[in-house]
């Protein structure tokens, strides 16, 4: 009997064993707790401590000052950076959600046969066999001023001049994000939809619901754990990114993290740490907001 089965059997036992079950689940989470404490909790504490430090050109000086935060909150650029990162997060979230939901819906409800379903699902992951840097950078020659897309547009007479906004622009950043992150939306939604009892759809149809009503009133509510999880993935990935923004905007746009990186490169750790602390708080709040809307834990245990 594996430990999971063992724990499951413990959990299923009658109330008297509840204490033992509780103890077992504590043991079960302990490795995760240890890993998180060691590799997330402690480093985060260090970052928090350093965010109150003073610094000169090449040293960080232990102190307890609020200057780094004061500077962060009084600068207009902070607001602009967050506005830009949140803007990207929302746009990319909306697009990946639309794509992810439809792809998952197609895979679950339109594709017949489990084998075929899984086969197509695996096909979605094929691009992930190459590094995401390569996948992103390949957009550059495609979208460039003299790139394939512009040449095609001009060649077919649709445009007379190359479209400049295609590359090194917000547009290019969004294209790359959507390309990179859609799968993170597809997988959890696929998973949630696959658990929907098909007879519910039949019942909806029998009760006279049309196709769209079924989607909106049956499938959508029942996929919301998947949507919530996918949203968490996409939003945290976009908020924490610096590389895609930097490369695809040609350095024209910045994100919170790319500004933080500039500070790190100039050895200005305390302001970078302060910026990181605020970033963690904001992203945590965003995730908490999503989890408040959808109680993922409860729904998964359903």
């Amino acid at each position: 009997m594996t430990s999971i089965e063992h724990a499951a059997s413990l959990l299923e036992e009658a109330p008297p064993a509840e204490n033992a079950g509780e103890r077992a689940s504590w043991w079960q989470v302990s490795p995760m707790v240890a890993v998180l404490t060691l590799f997330f909790g402690l480093p985060m504490l260090v970052v928090l401590a350093v965010s109150f430090f003073d610094f000169d050109r090449s040293d960080i000086i232990p102190a307890f000052i609020f200057d780094n935060y004061v500077e962060l909150f009084t600068r207009e650029v902070t607001l602009r950076l967050y506005a830009s990162s949140i803007k990207f997060a929302l746009i990319v979230w909306a697009i990946t959600l639309l794509l992810g939901f439809n792809i998952a819906y197609f895979l679950v409800f339109h594709v017949r046969g489990l084998l075929f379903q899984i086969g197509l699902f695996l096909l979605c992951t094929v691009p992930f066999l190459t590094s995401n840097i390569i996948r992103m950078i390949s957009w550059i020659p495609f979208l460039g001023r003299n790139g394939i897309f512009n040449q095609a547009l001009q060649g077919s007479g649709i445009t007379s001049q190359p479209l400049e906004f295609l590359l090194f622009s917000d547009f290019a950043v969004v294209v790359a994000y959507v390309h990179l992150f859609t799968l993170f939306m597809v997988v959890p939604i696929f998973n949630a939809m696959a658990r929907i009892d098909k007879s519910l759809l039949e019942a909806a149809r029998d009760a006279g619901a049309g196709r769209f009503r079924t989607v909106f009133e049956v499938v959508l509510p029942l996929s919301r754990t998947g949507i919530a999880l996918g949203s968490i993935f996409v939003i945290t990935l976009v908020m924490g990114d610096s590389f895609v923004v930097r490369t695809m905007s040609g350095g024209q746009s910045a994100s919170v993290v790319s500004a933080l990186q500039n500070e790190v490169a100039a050895l200005q750790y305390p302001p970078a740490a302060a910026s990181a602390v605020i970033m963690v708080i904001i992203v945590t709040l965003m995730v908490a907001g999503i989890l408040r809307l959808v109680d993922v834990r409860k729904e998964l245990a359903r």
Binding site: R57, S58, E76, I140, F168, R246, G250, G251, Q252
Partner: protein
């Protein structure tokens, strides 16, 4: 706090090692050579300088082992400051000195230990060009960076003393790279101000690195006559504000196509025609040309932006290891390395030794700015320039003798980084 303790501990350990080593070398020279065999020196620097082939040649010539580590600038600073014992020979560019000098991580070099000082170009020994004229001191000039006040290496002297901060190795003169075919000819861009010319709107780029990006714009603004800087290499807050304001307006007006952060990006921007004039490094210009696309490292009338790099032994070296470090640094400028990097377009601090490792045709092309009498190849044998071409900008002192400003770290670098972040996000 723990960092300080750990560092003390490491220092203690290094001192212990030093005593053991000193005891070991009281014997005969043969013992010395025997022991040197087991020495390994870690040479860390930028990928353009810490080249594997150079380390292999040095190991062969010297009998002890050189390990080359190519690392990025921020990693280099971090390792130098927080784990100084992981590096033995620090291949730093001059702009790292303001971060590292006086921190107890670099050792000063007594001039007497460096045999080639007398043959070194006067730019480093006296701060002057070979014709005796003093070089610009805007930015961090060689004369300001090369010397410590005393052996303790606490303070930069700014004048010749007996204690070197580093052995100067390679240097070059940077300027703008252009696409002659797309701007209408090589003679269409002659001044830094052309970087800001509305004609090239949407077709210019800067390096995404505040100290250089801002300085390139400052050169342009000064030549356009917007205002005069007291020292472009050490701007006041007001000067930074004035400059960044104009840069933000330009950016909002769509003047810049891109800000590149890697060598390859700068090559691709130029080769693809996204950009026709931009800040660029000299080997990137060559890389564009090797794709059969014309690219020109254009000499500008206001002069070049200069930079230089050197080798500094780390402070933890002692005894035999330190002796080997000196021997290695002397080897470094004794010719082989100078010949190798000349073929990548960089100059050696001791050209007379590099000359021995170049063919007369190569010397004429790289150093004297004469038309290539034969095809010019890079150190790996790949064709770089066809017979008959001349080096952009001409001979060494036509280029290095006309430096307007040196790469630097400004006193207000903290403010500069902040404003640069605002610029990029605007």
């Amino acid at each position: 706090m723990t960092r300080i303790n750990r560092r003390l501990l490491l220092k203690g350990a290094a001192a212990g090692g030093a005593i053991a080593a000193t005891e070991a070398i009281t014997g005969f020279p043969t013992v010395w050579a025997q022991n040197a065999k087991d020495i390994t020196l870690v040479h860390a620097g930028g990928s353009y300088a810490a080249i594997k082939e150079i380390g292999e040649q040095a190991s062969k010539d010297l009998g002890f082992k050189i390990v080359m580590q190519a690392i990025t600038d921020d990693v280099q600073l971090n390792r130098s400051l927080t784990q100084p014992t992981t590096i033995d020979i620090n291949n730093i560019d001059s702009t790292k000195l303001p971060y590292l000098a006086g921190k107890g991580v670099l050792a000063s070099i007594p001039v007497t230990k460096y045999k080639l000082w007398g043959e070194t170009v006067p730019l480093f020994t006296k701060g002057s060009y070979p014709n005796g004229q003093m070089a610009s001191t805007q930015g961090l000039a060689p004369i300001e960076a090369m010397f410590y006040e005393a052996a303790d290496g606490k303070k930069l002297a700014g004048r010749p003393t007996d204690f070197l901060t580093m052995i100067p190795t390679i240097y070059n003169a940077d300027t703008l790279g252009i696409r002659p075919d797309l701007v209408g000819g090589r003679d269409k861009i002659t001044s830094w101000k052309d970087l800001l010319d509305p004609k090239y709107k949407g077709k210019t780029a800067l390096v995404d690195y505040a100290p250089v990006g801002v300085m390139d714009v400052a050169m342009a603004l000064e030549s356009r006559g917007d205002f005069k800087y007291k020292d472009k290499g050490n701007m006041t807050k007001e000067e930074i504000d004035k400059t960044v304001k104009i840069m933000i307006d330009l950016k909002k007006g769509g003047h810049f196509r891109s800000f590149w952060s890697t060598f390859d990006q700068s090559v691709n921007l130029m080769a693809s025609g996204e950009v026709v004039v931009q800040s660029m490094w000299s080997p990137a210009v060559t890389a564009v040309r090797s794709r059969n696309i014309d690219c020109y490292y254009v000499p500008l009338k206001e002069g070049y932006r200069g930079w230089f790099v050197g080798l500094a032994p780390m402070a933890h070296l002692s005894g035999l290891k330190l002796d080997c470090a000196y021997e290695y640094m002397n080897w470094f400028n004794s010719g082989w390395q100078g010949g190798f990097i000349a073929k990548q377009g960089y100059y050696s601090a001791v050209p007379s030794t590099a000359k021995k490792f170049l063919t007369p045709e190569e010397w004429d092309y790289w150093y004297d700015g004469k038309p290539a009498a034969v095809d010019i190849k890079d150190p790996y044998g790949t064709l770089m320039e066809k017979k008959g071409s001349t080096r952009d900008g001409g001979a060494i002192w036509d280029r290095m003798g006309n430096i307007a400003c040196w790469n630097t770290v400004m006193d207000e670098d903290r403010y500069l980084t902040r404003r640069w972040n605002e610029f990029i996000s605007s």
